[in-house]
Structures are given as C-alpha cells and as structure tokens.
C-alpha cells in the first residue's frame, strides 16, 4: 500500500509542476536559511575535546581592584588571567595531574635556510605539560620537562607544518633554531592541531589559528618577553623594569589544570582558596574570595564564545522558517482542495478517511524530503556567502553529515506538521458531493 501511495503522491505532485516546485522551493528556503544559521552556531558551540572536557579546567583568582569588578556588569567574574606571581605559585601544587601556565608571545624566527627571510610569528610560552594536557601528539621527540620550565632553557617545540617549512619535514630534534637572536634547540615536533573553538585561549579571537611554536615558561623571564595577548593592570604601581612588571598586579597568564575526579577538584579548590587567604594576609586580594576552576564547556559559555549576533540570527532564521511553513499550509490547502473531486470519488468507492489521510501525509512527506534536499543546496549556498562575508570563518561554515541528516529530517517533520491540517480538511470531503457533479 505504501508504494502505491508513493506512486499516487508522485503522480499528484507531477500533475501540478508549478505548485509543487513553489512548495519545494519554499520549504527549501526556510530549511536552508535555518540550517545555515544552526551550522555556524553548532560549530561555534562545539566541544573541542569531548573525551576530557570535564577534566580540563581554567583557573581564575580574583586579584582585581577592590573598587570595581574585572568586567563591568559581570561582578561575579574574576579576571580571565592570573598575575605572574600567582601563576608561578600555583605551579607548586601537585594536586592536578597536569598543569600549564601560559601566554601568547611574539617571536622573530630566523631560519637557517638561505631562501627564507626572518619572520615574526605568534608563539605560546608555556609549561611542558601543555602537550599532554591538551592531547597534542608528537611526530618526533617529546615535550620538555619541568626543569626546562624552571630554568628557562632555550628549547622549542614546533608544529609539523612549521617543521616542513623550516627543516623540510625531517626529524629536526636536536637541531638549532634561531629565535630572537638566540639559539634554541628543537626537542619535539608536534602534530598540527587546530581545535575549534581555540578553547585554551579565547582572548584575541576564539576562532583564530593556534600558535605553531612553543617555548618553556621560564624563557619569558630570561628574555624579558611580554605577552602579545592581553595584559590588564588595575593598581597604581610605578613600574620601571621588567622585574617590577613581574611583581605587579597585572593579569596576563592563563592557567589550565587537569583534574580527573570530583575529589581532585575539591582538593584543588581548597588549595587555591588557602593560597589566596594566605595572600590576603600579605595585603593582596582585597576583593571577596572568588576563585574559580571552570571546565571547558562552561568556560566557553562564560567567555561568550558564541556571539550574540549568531543567537539573534538563529531566532530570526527560525521565524523565517515558520513563515515559510504558514505559506506551505496555504499552498497545500489550495492544492489538496483542488483534488477534492478525486478524493470524493475514492471515498465513495470505499476508501476510509484514515486511508485518505495517510495518502495525503505520504504526499506531504515526499514534498518535505524534496524540500530538505533542495534546502541543503540553499544551506550550502548560504554558507558560501557567509564565508565570503567573514573571511576568518572557513572552518565554521561547512556542512557535516550530522547536519545534513538534521536538515532532511527537520524538513520532513516540519512539512508533515504543516500538512496535517490540509490533509485533515481534505479527508473530510463528503463522499457524495462530487459524484452529483459528474
């Protein structure tokens, strides 16, 4: 029976090509625009490290100005970064399985290859744990150890792409790379890594490319490197040297820890609270105790990685879809009632109301499926347009298999919902009414 209804549906839809294509186009537009908005949202709100996002935590200590909160209008928030003093103190704890203090830094790399000019690049100054913490595998070599961090040894890990460029892709561990006029030794080559969003540092663009050169955290002290990310100071301090800057109430270090269990989290929270209380006695941390350890997904929400504009667009795209559906209801009503004589005859020949209703719904479902497929085309076009408008969005505007499935399924479901009323109306056609006219 299903196949017979399908045949009837296709015959009926092909009989009125103009109305059918209008309906398919309307469904496709509504679904296409809506799916494009959802796609961008879905990729922005992506969990970049699902298997351990519950274990990775960003650490915040409220060392900010007693007179005002770090963020205007968000008094519950502590600064996003830590002071140098606090970052170094937290590194002494052995509660976390791994931890990494870090900031972004601008370096000049002077390649030994004659054909490459020196270039300036953004790098990450961090602890050796960084790679294991965020699950970045190595192609060659390994991360540096804790002693290299403490001593500020001139070691470097480069990404596979950088290794291709600088060393022709060979195992470069043990080789020398000149950075800021100093000789650094390559200890490892890490796999290319591009988490979306760039959750470990969302300060200067949550969807930027990650850094591809990594140096030990202590090197900053040796070479007097400032952060090339954000540095925020609140206290009126007379800062006249790098040494004084390191001791200042300026926040510029990001801090991540791996805490596998709830017990670890409680222990760590107690540790940082105790640390801050100790510092309060020394006259620092004048604000109420507000230390936070926040897991990845919540962190991305707190940092408002998904832009408000995208949420507004989802709302508007949804209303657009609803308007398209109202439209389709009208179109289907016209079409189905146009078939009333034919239905009347079927009813007179013995078809039950339920059978007629089912038949109409199958026709509606077929329309929805066609609309969903065409909608994918519109969604793809819209995403191409979005890529044109936002050059940095290439990886935020692509369709994946899940989204394709959602698009088609939602097209079929919404069209069937839209078709319920017209189908109900038409199956109530009195069997006799149209026989008399013949």
């Amino acid at each position: 029976m299903f196949r017979y209804y399908l045949k009837l549906a296709s015959r009926s839809l092909l009989a009125t090509p103009a109305a059918t294509s209008l309906m398919v186009a309307t469904i496709a537009l509504g679904i296409g625009i809506f799916m494009a908005a959802v796609t961008v949202y879905y990729l922005m709100a992506n969990n970049p490290i699902p298997h351990k996002s519950d274990m990775l935590h960003a650490v915040q200590l409220d060392s900010w100005d007693p007179a005002q909160s770090y963020r205007e209008g968000r008094p519950e928030q502590a600064p996003w970064e830590l002071t140098y003093t606090d970052a170094m103190a937290l590194r002494e704890s052995d509660i976390p399985r791994r931890h990494a203090a870090m900031h972004k830094v601008s370096l000049v790399v002077q390649p030994t290859r004659e054909d490459l000019k020196p270039f300036q690049t953004e790098a990450r100054l961090t602890d050796g744990d960084f790679f294991a913490l965020f699950d970045i595998p190595f192609v060659y070599g390994a991360a540096w150890g804790r002693d290299a961090d403490d001593a500020g040894q001139l070691l470097v890990v480069i990404s596979e792409s950088r290794n291709d460029e600088l060393f022709g892709g060979e195992d470069s561990t043990g080789k020398t790379l000149r950075i800021n006029d100093r000789e650094f030794t390559v200890v490892g080559v890490s796999e290319d890594w591009n988490p979306v969003p760039k959750y470990y540092d969302v300060n200067n663009g949550a969807f930027d490319e990650p850094e591809q050169i990594f140096i030990p955290s202590g090197v900053g002290r040796e070479l007097e490197l400032f952060s090339s990310g954000n540095t925020n100071c609140w206290k009126d301090e007379d800062i006249n040297s790098f040494e004084e800057f390191l001791g200042a109430e300026c926040v510029w270090w990001q801090y991540w820890v791996e805490l596998p269990s709830a017990v670890d989290r409680d222990a760590y929270q107690a540790f940082i609270d105790a640390y801050v209380k100790e510092q309060k006695e020394l006259g620092r941390f004048a604000r109420p105790l507000n230390n936070r350890i926040t897991a990845v997904e919540e962190w991305l929400e707190v940092r408002q990685v998904v832009r408000d504009d995208n949420k507004v667009l989802i709302g508007i795209a949804f209303l657009f879809l609803v308007v398209c559906l109202f439209n389709i209801v009208g179109l289907m009503l016209t079409k189905f009632l146009g078939k009333a004589p034919q239905i009347g005859i079927r009813r007179a020949l013995g078809a039950s109301r339920g059978a007629v209703f089912r038949q109409q719904l199958i026709e509606v479902g077929a329309l929805g499926a066609a609309g969903g497929l065409a909608g994918l085309g519109f969604a793809w076009l819209s995403l191409k347009g979005i890529q044109q408008l936002f050059p940095g969005f290439e990886h935020l505007a692509r369709l994946d298999l899940t989204l394709v499935g959602i698009a088609i399924a939602s097209a079929v479901v919404t069209t069937i919902i839209a078709g319920l009323y017209p189908a109900w109306r038409v199956c109530r056609v009195p069997p006799g009414a149209y026989l008399r006219l013949q």
């Binding site: 109202f326 439209n327 979005i386």
Partner: protein, 401 residues
C-alpha cells in the same frame, strides 16, 4: 463601503485569512526588527573616524636581536619614509587605530583621591602625528620634534598630550575644558593637554569609549612599532610598496610586516557588523518575497473558491471594479489584523533581544513604516488575483448550479 458583509463572508471560511494574518504578523516582527538592526550596524560602520583613513598606509616594524634599538631606528625610519615622493606625513605609533589592538589607559580630571577615572586609548606617536592621522586640531597646538621623548622605561610620567574633545569632556563633565587643561594619570602625576582634536577613533570599534583617544609624543623602549604613512590624495597605492622597501633597506635586523591600507584594517574590524547587516538584508528580502508569494497564493485560493459567487454578483449588476474592490478591501482587513498582532509581536521580539543580548530598544517609528510596507505588499499581492476575479464572466452563474 461594504465592510460588514466582506467581514462576515471571510468568517465563513477562516483558514485562509487566519494563515495570511499570522504570516503578516510574523513578517512584520522580523522585518521591523531586522531593519532596525541593519540601520544600527550601518550607522556604526559609516560614523566618521576623524582620520584620513582612505589615504593612510600602515606597516609594522619588528626588531630582533640585542643590537636592535627601536628608539635609535625611529628617527632614521621617519626621515626615510617622509622622503618618499607622494608621502604627506609620517608618524611612528605603538598601534594602529581601528585595528582591534591597542593600549588602554585611565585618566582623571582632578588629583583628588577618588576622582572618577575615565578610560581611553593612548597612542605613543611622533612629532607629525596630527598630520599623519589627518585629524583636525580644534584648539591648541600640534606636537613639535622637541616634544618627543625617548624614555628608558615604561614608568616615566607623561608630560604633554593631545586628546579628543570627547575624552576631555568625559574628564570634565561640567564642560568647557580647553587646551591647556591639566589631567592626571593613575599615579596622580599632572599631564598638560596641549591640543584638542575634533574627533579621532581609538582601537576597539565595539567599545563604547571609542572616541576617547589620547596622543602621547614618545617612542617606547620596546622592539616593535607601527608607522602611519599618509599619502597625498590618489598616491596611496603607489606609495605602499615603497614603504616596505624603504624600511628594509635601512635595517635588516627586523621584520617588516602587516603592510596594509588603513581602510582595509577598518573594514576587517567592522567585518562582524557588515556581515550581520548583509545577512539580515538577505533574510528581509527573502521574507518579503515568501510572504508576497503567500498572499498571491491565498488570494488565488479565495478567488477560486468563489468563482460562482463572483459570477452571480456580476450577473446581478456588480461592476468589474466592485469585484476588484471587494478583494482589495478583504485583503486590507486581513492585513490590518495581521499588522495589529504583528506590532505586539514586534515589540515582544525586540524585548527578547534587549533582555538577552543587550541590543538597543526599538525606535517606535519603525513600526508604522513597517505597517505601511506590509499594507502595500498585501495590496500588490492581491492585485493580480483580484483582476483575474473581475474577469470572471457573469454567464458562469447560469452554467452549473
């Protein structure tokens, strides 16, 4: 006019009119809110920056190695860049305005404890900065080469600055502050404002204090800085490649990068606003189209259902334009109900956006304009079907009963 009979006739078959009214209500809500957002974004993008953005080229010089000294290299670089034919003025600058990178600062209008502080963006620039940015001096004077300082560290207090009128007024809310005023840095050191600018935009285009800008004549002891090169009108693109060549020829212990036009930098910073405006404009257009098609469809449906009644009316004496008027009036009544519901919905959608996303409250004037637009759309949509209805022959009344 026969409002009563038309109204009662539509009530006989409510589905079509209800669908149409709902569609119009939603369309009004979306279009009015979207157009309001578009207007705000366009205002944002097109507000005057105070600078001669179209004629400026910017470039970053990033020194490396222990023997590179920015403070030594800046005077030499400036002289070389100024001698490029077609260059009007050059300054060094710590960052580029409108770029999204910058250096925020806090000042107060009084040295008393607890005096309110006002945030702004500061640029460490050189003698010719006013000319190089192309900003207009409202009062006071521009910097001279004697004003430019080369401090050994970050903590050396400021002495003379130029600031925007907006920043000065924010520091002295009672108004009337002029060039010569004294402001105070965060350690309470007095700073003399030697010049006031009409207007100049700072670093972050999304910041509500974008107009608070201060120029400081100094070269900081760091490795990198930018040069702001203002070309004579029409010369920018010719000057651009020479800027990079000139800098590289002077000193190769540095990386010269980010050679960009200032208009390109501004456009990148407004990418979000522009993108949002374009996306919304496309949605508004599609929405108007879909609703228009819907009105045509439902009107045609209404006509088809009433072929015989129309024929009968014509047979008993109604003129063609009576039939056209009938459908026009009917459509107008439905649209009116739609826009009435839609106005409430519009306010609700705006309220949702204000509460959830801190968007601005809707200017009420947008609602009547939207209503007019939808009335027009409705009448345009119904015109075709109504004309076809009026072409129905009176004879149809006599054919089948």
């Amino acid at each position: 006019m026969e409002f009563g009979p038309i109204w009662r006739a539509s009530l006989r078959n409510k589905t079509g009119p209800v669908l149409m009214a709902l569609q119009i209500a939603l369309t009004l809500a979306v279009i009015v809110n979207a157009v309001f957002i578009i207007k705000q974004r366009i205002d944002n993008i097109t507000r005057p920056t105070g600078m001669d953005v179209e004629n400026i080229v910017t470039v970053q010089s990033f020194g490396f190695g222990d023997d590179f000294d920015l403070q030594e290299s800046v005077p030499e670089d400036l002289a070389a860049l100024e001698s490029i034919p077609g260059v009007l003025a050059v300054t060094s600058s710590q960052h580029v305005p409108l770029s999204g990178s910058g250096w925020g600062t806090e000042l107060a209008g009084s040295s008393e404890d607890g005096a309110p502080r006002v945030n702004g963006a500061q640029y460490f620039v050189n003698a010719d900065a006013v000319n190089a940015f192309g900003v207009a001096l409202e009062s006071g004077r521009a910097f001279t080469p004697e004003d430019v300082e080369y401090p050994e560290n970050f903590g050396v207090p400021l002495s003379r600055v130029i600031m925007t009128r907006a920043y000065l007024d924010a520091l002295f809310p009672e108004g009337g502050a002029q060039a010569g005023a004294t402001v105070y840095d965060n350690l309470g050191n007095p700073v003399t404002v030697i010049g006031v600018l009409d207007r100049m935009h700072g670093a972050w285009v999304g910041w509500d204090k974008l107009d608070n800008v201060m120029l400081v004549p100094r070269v900081m002891p760091v490795e990198f800085n930018y040069y702001i090169v203002r070309a004579e009108p029409g010369e920018r693109d010719r000057v651009m490649p020479q800027v990079e060549e000139t800098l590289l020829a002077i000193n190769d212990r540095r990386v010269v990068k980010s050679l960009r036009t200032h208009s390109d930098i501004r456009d990148s910073s407004y990418e979000g606003d522009r993108g949002m405006a374009v996306v919304l404009a496309v949605v508004v257009g599609l929405m108007a189209m879909v609703t228009g098609v819907g009105i045509v469809g439902l009107a045609s449906f209404a006509v088809r259902q009433r072929v015989k009644q129309i024929g009968t009316r014509r047979a008993v004496g109604a003129r063609r334009r009576d039939i056209v008027r009938y459908f026009m009036v009917e459509n107008w009544m439905i649209t009116t109900i739609g826009v009435a519901v839609g106005s409430v919905l519009t306010i609700a959608v705006n309220y949702w956006m204000v509460v959830s996303f801190e968007l601005e409250r809707l200017d009420p004037l947008y609602v009547p304009v939207g209503i007019l637009a939808l009335w027009l759309l409705g009448l345009l949509g119904v015109a075709g079907p109504a004309r076809r209805a009026s072409a129905i022959s009176p004879a149809i009344a006599t054919r089948t009963v």
